[in-house]
Amino acid sequence: MPVKPADGFIAELSPLPFIRASVMYTRHSESLRLKEAAREKEMAHRIEIGFREGVRDALGEKIKKRINNDLRIPADSVKTIEIYTIDSDLGPSDLDAAACGPLSDPVIQETAIDCGIARGFDWLIEVGFRPGVTDNVGKTACEAIALLTGKPTRVYTSRQYVICGSLTRADAERIASELLANDLIQHYDIFDGKTWDTAAGIKPYVPRVLGENCPRTEEIDLNVPDAELIRISQERVLALTLDEMRILRDYLKNDAVLARRKKAGLGAAMTDAELECIAQTWSEHCKHKIFNARITYEGEGDTREIDSLFSSCIKKATREIRERMGAGDWCLSVFVDNAGIIRFNDGWNLVFKVETHNSPSALDPYGGALTGIVGVNRDPFGCGKGAKLIFNTDVFCFAPPDYDAPLPKRILHPRRIFEGVREGVEHGGNKSGIPTVNGCIVFDKRYLGKPLVYCGTGGIMPSRIAGVPTHTKEILPGDLIVMTGGRIGKDGIHGATFSSEELHEGSPVTAVQIGDPITQKKMTDFLLIARDRGLYRAITDNGAGGLSSSVGETACLSGGCELDLKNAPLKYPGLNPWEILISESQERMTLAVDPAKRDEFLELARKMDVEATVVGRYTDSGLFHVRYGDQTVALIEMCFLHDGLPQMNLRAVWTLPCHPEPDFSEPSDLGAALKAMLSRLNICSKESVVRQYDHEVQGGSVVKPLTGAVNDGPSDAAVLRPLLDSFEGIVVANGLCPRYSDIDAYHMAACAIDEAVRNAVAVGAPLDRLAGLDNFCWCDPVQSEKTPDGEYKLAQLVRANEALYDLTTAYGVPCISGKDSMKNDYQIAGVRISIPPTLLFSTLGKMEDVRKAVTMDVKRPGDLVYILGKTYRELGGSEWYALNDAIGNGVPKVNAAAAKTLYEKLHRAMMAGLVASCHDCSDGGLGVALAETAFAGEWGLAVDLKAVPAEGIERNDELLFSESQSRFIATIRPEAQQAFEAALAGCTFARIGKVIPEGVLRIECLGGQKIIEESLASLKAAWQKPLAY
């Protein structure tokens, strides 16, 4: 059945010239490069918008502060001017109506058309986008002007920074390149105030993509020597190994395959579309080859075989936990869909997924992180029948912002990464109307090469729609493949394969893109209505690998597909079929639509101003068949595409590292030590970031990220009500502790899991309704010339997975979904930076009644202070040792059996209303937890360290800062003492003091000689200072 072209296809493309390449391989960088339009275009106009005299320019002031503080350049003032370059021949009255209408604010702004507005400055820097880069403001301006004037137009935006101060041109260059513009996606021009002519202004520059209207498909002969295969893989950013390339070569020698290809007009060489599609599908990013590898593990005098870490650790644990739950099993869909699905109550299901967007964030922190958050939004949204999104949770790992050594090539300063990522997630989350309920930031200098940007999103869906369960997916042959949302451009090409490599010199710039939360919001508004009306059968997102992955994967449900790329709506002409197939342009979902519902679906889309296009149909042919018009550009057996990749064989060798034990004595001033700990980047307040995220939109916020007497204490976990007419709630928490992997990744993982679980328990989540998500970010664990310690890193991965199995089964907390990112390395010019192996464990819990939630702030004087759990001499990898430049060896170890009993009993005590406050002990241990509990509640504590149950500890600093796991500080009303102690009978706990009306933290030390006494104000100041605005 021929597929009808969709309405609104923007350009007539010439018939497909099918090039029989005589050369084995042609470089394609020529066609990849986006061509710029001529700089001076007759018909283009510039509208400039600036603030009136006397109106405060808050953005300009913020930039000035960063120029002064971050770059240490003495700018006196910065003002901003917004530029709209109008690429059409609007007349003066239309231009004026646009300028004075939607584009400016008449109360505070002034406008100029085709002349400059800036005057009396020293330097002017104008920053605009490169051709093809998503320009959200430009798109909105374009729609507004079309509505206003009735005339179609193109609008491109740029911004001027007008700077006063005695700066050199070199200073201006630095400001432009190191702060204002990212060369990958933006260009800038610098103008000297001395030679500036306001009347002349700046000539319009139109960054339009000029496409060649001749889509080409190349054939690549793979019947070549191995060296050529390697070169093809490398030059095309395929990230395929020689073995994998050989499999492709051999695939094309099969007679049945050749016969089928011949019938479709294809030869014995592979088309670029096929090669690219297979590379995406087989990428580490999509296929998790390392997690599915057969591993020979040697260590502790023992050798064993592991057949897939994913199957033998993660999936196995979940299977066993579900078997134990029996009829009470609340898991609905695990590991098979874009996200995990669990039951919330009889009428509703919860969905949760955490992703990373590390590599793009390294190159363009703002765009990378924005795309990360709006990208992970589409996972729960594209899961089952589709879920409404109800929370985001974000965890970042950066190098310290005060990094002051020279930066290796292509690396942005950590401060710039931090601010860019923060802002990207702010725009992505806030503009999507999804509350960012919690998160954390971890600093370690090894995140310099690649920052980690974990973005998680939860959703809720009715458990049935029209009687049909929503957590499964079905597609029938004949269903139409419909793409909705944004259009396809060259952005995001090779994202999947690029993130399957280390960051290197040739990392493709097209992998970077900028998300558009509003286009996505419009699409999700539409699709939720379409879902409830039953207008589609299945939904999935277009993420890594674009259509090749979304259609390739869903086609497994029907048994094949036929896709016509000529129908796909493009941002601009000039894309080759392979580019359309694998482009990762954002804000797109792929739907399976029953042909009988086609018209209703498309009509609703049109009404709601959302693009929706039929691009093919699902079949049961067993083939992944892609055409461009009448021409077949890819024909791959579904089974080869998905199962043609043999299991990888890897070797892991474990040796326990031995670090020198630190040699420093207990400091005489423990109060100063406590304050120094509170000022550690990994411990200090993150309020300046938290406040910039909307954490209560949707109206169901119960435990917010900041809590306490003046709303600034650090909550352990988030509690929210997804259904406003019910008191049932959900709990969201995270755990990660990468420093421990310096000693043993087993304990790093165990502690991360314990932290995520105990954070959830601390606010009131029941252990038996907690689900987990694992998100592994590793440095390359495959032994090679560039990774000589790959076998050790793989052993770390094995051990972390074994910990995951041990802990999740011990707690009965099943993983429902997860993700891995295996190549978090940087390698350029002989410099290699690898991240510490990092597991983020996230938990999602169900609370029956949110009104029983507990927060971490001390509540009232006279309450009793308890420590729950035992303290050991576990300072290896601790913040206290890090402060003293040591790692040590005594890594914290989780006693899961004891912890489980404690968590269950503590939960019962909380539900009985016996607990006034509860705060977990994590980074910085008991000392930090006591200080936070006290200053958050603004009442003092008097505590005796001698009462703390401990083993093997003789020093106060060790008792205060040991990071032993599974511990809490709880405060209890005196009248609840007996009931509380009875509830916890059998667990290790002790009453260590009481809440006092004075605003001090008073700690009696071991030996009874020393006393720490610090005002809460000074402790809080130490904690708040490092990352204050």
């Binding site: 959200n136 798109k139 909105t140 507004a144 101003d609 406040r691 939109v697 809590t707 509540k859």
Partner: protein, 275 residues
């Protein structure tokens, strides 16, 4: 028989507080509450005329890309309603002329201000006489603030209130009037219904973070001369239950959130009017 009262909550193009806004309307006693996508208004399948209370919730209309709510205002001013001779704005004008109630929160307040609809000075509802622009901090912020109500204000929504504690969640909430004359009129006519204030709701404050954005004269919410159109930056719909309060685990609070008072006032007023 009391008047049946119907509320409409408009969504679409980046609005995102429609659920809790509708929830607040229901809790306040509206007989019917519809969340309506703006495309339904533009298609003519829904009409403002069928409702008594128009809610413009918070969010990011068109991403606030051209300045907060600017593109959204442009749409209401210029978009035509299919199958009719009228613009969407005509329905708004008719709604106002009928003496019905409009509440704009955050982005909805920005929309009212950018439309010029809120001031309605001298009965003109499409001329901008003030604006809401970038916070002095240059940042989006989510924080709870105290708001002092003006007892002399004609505002229907703040009747009987002395003060109210609500969250702000915005990057562009700084109120600036066009000129001193406008500001004087707002004061003289008591159109400034809410101001950022100290914790006891006694004095308006210009100090950050009590005044989170640097708003001129600490203006947090203003109404038109009839008191029937009201816009405010803080979110009353975000405090509909005591568990929304940031300190509900440490303070004795009434079950119902303070924000509901605005919606209850709207419901009580509409029940007593025949519109």
């Amino acid at each position: 028989m009391p008047q049946q009262i119907k509320a409409i909550v408009i969504t679409g193009n980046g609005t995102n507080c429609e659920m809790e806004m509708a929830h607040a309307c229901r809790l306040a006693g509206f007989d019917e509450v519809d969340i309506v996508h703006i495309s339904e208004l533009l298609c003519g399948t829904k009409r403002l005329d069928d409702y008594h209370f128009l809610n413009l919730p918070g969010g990011f209309l068109d991403g606030d890309d051209l300045g907060s709510a600017k593109a959204g205002a442009n749409r209401i001013l210029h978009a035509a309603v299919a199958g009719s001779e009228e613009l969407l704005f005509d329905q708004f004008a008719r709604f106002i002329a009928a003496g019905k109630l409009i509440l704009g929160v955050c982005n909805g307040f920005q929309l009212l201000v950018k439309l010029g609809m809120l001031h309605g000075l001298d009965g003109i509802y499409d001329r901008q006489t003030a604006t809401l622009t970038f916070n002095d901090s240059g940042r989006f912020e989510d924080r709870w603030v105290h708001l002092r109500a003006n007892a002399a204000s004609p505002c229907i929504f703040t009747r009987g209130l002395q003060g109210i504690y609500l969250p702000v969640r915005h990057g562009e909430g700084k109120f600036i009037p066009r000129d001193a004359g406008i500001l004087q009129r707002l004061h003289r006519q008591n159109l400034i219904a809410l101001q950022y204030s100290d914790g006891e709701y006694r004095e308006a404050t210009m100090d950050y973070p009590g005044n989170p954005n640097g708003a001129v004269d600490a203006v947090a919410g203003i109404c038109n001369e009839t008191g029937r159109i009201f816009g405010l930056m803080p979110h009353p719909e975000a405090y509909h239950h005591r568990t929304n309060h940031p300190r509900w685990t440490r303070e004795e609070l009434p079950e119902e959130g303070m924000g509901l008072a605005l919606f209850r006032n709207a419901a009580v007023f509409l029940r007593s009017e025949s519109l």
